[in-house]
Symmetry: D3
Subunit: 299 residues, 6 copies
């Protein structure tokens, strides 16, 4: 028998171990397993289990034969959502719409250098990109948050391109698509939300810049000015300058992406908070809005 289930509790007895798991239809099962198997499992994560039944004290029992992480079993985020949506919070957007939208933007890229590098990096992260949150806390902290935040930012950027035609469309699309992609390396899983060692000591900005450099070298595009522009967008997208350790944004697209990143992280949260607030009241204090409480009018 095979099924997908999320580990809810772990029980260690003197002679054997078992876990309680939750299936997507709400059913709970108790699974026996050995010590080595137990060590490789993590609470709160979801696995594809292969089990066999046996009878003990006249009751039917289930014993784990094998298991793999759900993400190794099903790579496609659309299929995966069918399995996981009842276990974890998802971004409030249809996964197919999200994916089509992102890939639609990729197809709009015209500059060959930008297109090759962006597609190259995207393909390396493709499935994870639709699973990771955009931040551990405070904004877009749900499965798919990274892709959802990215899509909305490009939507906004395309509108600014209409207002300020001097902006470069390819740099906007590629810069936004890549700007947070190394959150996948910065965090230790899409379900959880702890920083990896690399995430703490290097961070997704520089990890992303390194990834672009590496892809450029692989594609023999390392001396192209486009590579430098993308690298700069990655390094500067948090905007506030430092005394040498980082770079403040110094190209039109880098400056705009900094603003759009800020705005979407605030206004998506604000919309979520207002939805929980009665007209005539203030929202809770919102961390990304400088802890402000925002008033919802009555008319």
């Amino acid at each position: 028998m095979e099924f997908n289930a999320k580990v809810e509790t772990m029980n260690v007895g003197v002679e054997f171990q078992n876990i309680n798991v939750l299936l997507k239809d709400g059913e709970k099962k108790n699974l026996k397993l050995d010590q080595d198997q137990l060590k490789r499992l993590e609470l709160g994560k979801t696995y594809h289990f292969t089990v066999e039944t046996y009878t003990h004290n006249e009751k039917e029992q289930l014993k784990v034969v094998d298991f793999v992480g759900i993400f190794e079993h099903i790579k496609d985020p659309i299929l995966l959502k069918l399995e996981l949506a009842s276990f974890y919070e998802y971004a409030p957007i249809d996964m197919k719409v999200l994916k089509d939208s992102i890939q639609g933007f990729l197809d709009q890229l015209e500059n060959e250098t930008i297109k090759k590098i962006t597609k190259g990096v995207y393909q390396e992260y493709e499935n994870s990109f639709y699973m990771y949150p955009a931040a551990v806390r405070f904004h877009h902290a749900y499965i798919g948050g990274l892709a959802y935040h990215t899509k909305t930012m490009i939507d906004i950027a395309m509108r600014f391109k209409e207002i300020y035609p001097y902006l470069n469309k390819d740099l906007l699309i590629a810069g936004i698509l890549l700007h947070d992609i190394c959150k996948v390396d910065e965090l230790n899983g899409f379900e959880g939300g702890e920083y990896t060692l690399e995430g703490q000591l290097v961070g997704h900005l520089v990890l992303g810049a390194m990834k672009i450099k590496e892809m450029a070298r692989k594609l023999d595009l390392v001396d192209k000015e486009e590579v430098l522009m993308l690298t700069h967008i990655l390094l500067s997208h948090h905007g506030l300058p430092n005394f040498g350790a980082a770079k403040k944004p110094m190209t039109p697209e880098a400056i705009l992406i900094w603003y759009i990143d800020t705005i979407d992280s605030k206004f998506t949260v604000l919309g979520e908070e207002l939805a929980k607030t009665d007209a005539g009241d203030f929202t809770q204090s919102i961390p990304v809005l400088d802890k402000s409480r925002v008033y919802k009018h009555k008319f």
Copy 2:
């Protein structure tokens, strides 16, 4: 003989006074006038002159009979531009397009309270609104800058409304339209750019808030929540909070207007600076961009 002309120099002799003026076709004239007339003129401003000719030392001379400020002579900004465009820098947009655009936004207002107040204030400032700059220096510092900045901000806001549907369209349009309208009271003329005493000691934010209150009282709408929302947008649109003296933005529309105001003041200037810069170079240091120099890429 009547004509419009800009005062270029003033000459005071022992027995008579005269001025040199510039006409829009580039012609220059010397006009005699008396002391009282001279005192009422300002260098750099444009007037509608009525003159008569007489002969002195066998040369035909021109003597000022009467004059009024050009803005008293021609109120309509579209007609006025025909007279002044060769004397002063204008916003890079057709005046009719600009006016139609602003009035189109006004026509979209649906909430009756907001509509009445906004139209009421707009009509009071109507002609000046298309003449004043948006700032003395640094951004949109040309004739029509105020209306041009306002129009672009509403253009941006309408796009954000598509992205974040919970925003109130009427508050965005009205809030932006009114947010800087008291620059007309803050500055002492559309040609110049000095602050009035009221501008220095009160400022256009509070002057605007007072104007809304006054209009609300006139229209008997003073207790409407809409009035409070508009007042708050006016008071908070510079965004950075103080210890009591002002208010930080605390409604969704007030927060967004703060961002859009910031962005348009930066990106319009940036576009103007990039237009003067060669590909592969940095722009000059740009004051509104924290004195940054911005790089213009080559590909």
Copy 3:
């Protein structure tokens, strides 16, 4: 039977409602009332009750016939104190001394414009002015705190006028008298201490400035420089400048009032804290003094 009493508890049964109230002599009563009556009452507030007696289960009961807020029943703060002094904390000053002192300052005003506007606004707030606190927490947070703080500030200002004769006495008196008067609109009651919506989104500085403008319009004094000076004092009395949203003090009287406001809010609290501290000890940490603990010497 009629009496004044403060609502201490509310009890809702299935069939009837009743409240326990406290009278100024310490007596407690239980009053029956109906649902509609109950909804209009607030815990912690004081009312003038009209009740009638009836007998139930051989015990005499009291039933509410009618009630009004105490402040509607007795407007005069001196009389009101006789009723409320045992319920709420009052400023440590005799109410008649306070009122005579404030009105004495008003009588000293000589400039006609300043005098008319100040008296006009004062009369509008007259009774509340003696009831409200000067702040919700931290300093003068008791009934009468607003008037007591105002009186002490004028006392100090009159002494500075002796030291620096160039200061304008009328602007000092009027500016101080009006500077916090819209706290009455900013807070939702003299007993409590929550901000009104208007208080949060506009604030007492701008509310005060608007009130002066309105009074000036009513008295046809709107173009007087005195009005601008008073408006500026109101807007700037918190002193610390912002990037455009408010004004830093730019007249001698505005600067001095900022200092005196700061000093009295600190030194009145300090006196109250020292009174609770033994010689040779430090006071508690005092919030308005940057959380300092202050030493009380022994000699």
Copy 4:
């Protein structure tokens, strides 16, 4: 022949040296002198000269026999002012009034410890105290500025004592009198205004604290709490705290003296600037007022 004169120019020839000096009645003289004498003189300072006449080339010449600094010749500041008032700017107050006022405050001291220490230190600096400025630039930068600033501060403090009776009058008088007295050691002369090495590396706050400690030791009062209170006032009178290097004010009198020092340094300058400004204009930018320009009203 003997007279007092200020050195205006120095001339060095191959065979002899001479100087041009200015007398208080405006007369100028040329004085011959030898190299050693010349070295001991400073430009801009005033000396008591003893000269003799001789004849050279049939013209009467003056030769310096001896000289001493004017302050060694006349110690009394009242007499000194008669000699120097035409050479240097003086505080705008009669010297006798100033001295009587300061000594009157000294006579009001009641606490024996405070009285002995304050008089002890005062006597050590007595004459210089009336000659030095209160600051090199920005406020009270004229002869007598130190005493004038001190007197005004005590005047203000005595008024605050009326408002807040818990303040200790002796600590206020003594603390203010001593707070800047080591400016005399911090600066290298009353006429000039350069810092001494001690002034730069130690400063008048700590120099003053050391002086109090020394006087206390001499008078065998070193363990008195009064000494600690005065020391603390000296160390903290600049108010803004540091991370350990200094002390923020932590007694009522220390806090008040900080405020009064700030206020008098601003408002005395403000009065001087307003006196130079027309009604309806702004003053120049005033450094001690955060570079503000202050408006002088017209009514």
Copy 5:
């Protein structure tokens, strides 16, 4: 019978008082005493007790005859450590090594003025110097912390002298040795860690500067530039400048001592924290390191 013991609990009965004390071998005793004796004792401190035995209810009892503070009984820190090491935490260094090291540095002083002053002050504090902590919390907060921190700082300074030979060795040794020595006056005991009144209102920087001045006066060295240099090091060793209240470091040695003080307070704590941390983990948040958590690598 005589012994040293630390007071652990105090018990007050109606008719008599007794305390429980701890001896260095872990033995506990109950001691009877009278009210006056009890008042002079402090919990947590160690005393030399003289007791006599008597019998009560057939049980042998101990009664306190006399006691003195342990530091009055044994002055020598090396001997003292034998008694106290089991009661209090000590710096992780042998007391004799520490003392020899400090005295070795003293012996290296060559400049006579610096040598006399430094030895003079050191002798005044000699025994306490080896007992006090360097700070109440956060770094070197154990017995001997002051001397241990001082020794390490001189060790570092001697190495910098090799790198930058222009530094003055005598000023480095003397400046470091004296820089924190008045912590002994700032704190109220080596065991505890509360600030004295003098510590709070004056602080160890100025207390140290005063001590140097006093010693210089005693030795008739008050005008030596060396005294000024040492005074400046003491006043500036916390480095961050203030607006007048203190001095920022302005000599090479003062600047270096500031850096070394900062570094040793951080790196000694860091070593102690790393010792408690597994390889591959982060330390706890470390207050003196700006609350950072520091990673301990695995290779």
Copy 6:
């Protein structure tokens, strides 16, 4: 004829071009050359010229046959210094001593991963490393400044390793050696001092981190924790944290390198400034020392 010479002036006539060059012995020559040759030369740089003589108007003339940049002609910095020392300012240290010292540190590396990566990167930059300055202005702004600053920093680090034995010697040596090595890419030449585009938009910190990653990939060491430690040192060595764009130092070695970098940039400059200052005077204002002027004592 061949020789090395620095271009001092360029002269363009109608028919031919010529330049004036300076030889190391001070001799000056005029060289004829064609337009294409002229375009490839830069003022202030040094070249190896091959010239031929010819006669024109009976005077012997020199004509350029060919030239290469001096750094292409002579790679070895020791030999190069013999040619360039009279043209440019050099670090005040013997080039051979400097090189031996750096290579001696490299030889002390024990950890194989660190050793391979550090040597790999070093060899790529070997010759430039000894030619570039450490900064454009303010400190070590001379030829060899980069290597001299690096050597001194390692000297200091080795001494701190003695004081705090828990520090990792290999990380200190390698981290310091690599920390500024990409200044070579950040600046456009050792003689000049302008930033490259890459220098401005990416900066030497991230360029260095990328270089380490690249070398690790080449050597198949990319997953070693040592690589992460070195990367972190590079990224954090400017110390002050930002809101996400960079990393503050979070390992013991990274924190120490930040301090040592700061100290050596200050104290090397300070030594150079003190050497120009008389005893008893203050140095000039020193930019890297927060614009302080530092006092040089007299004893």
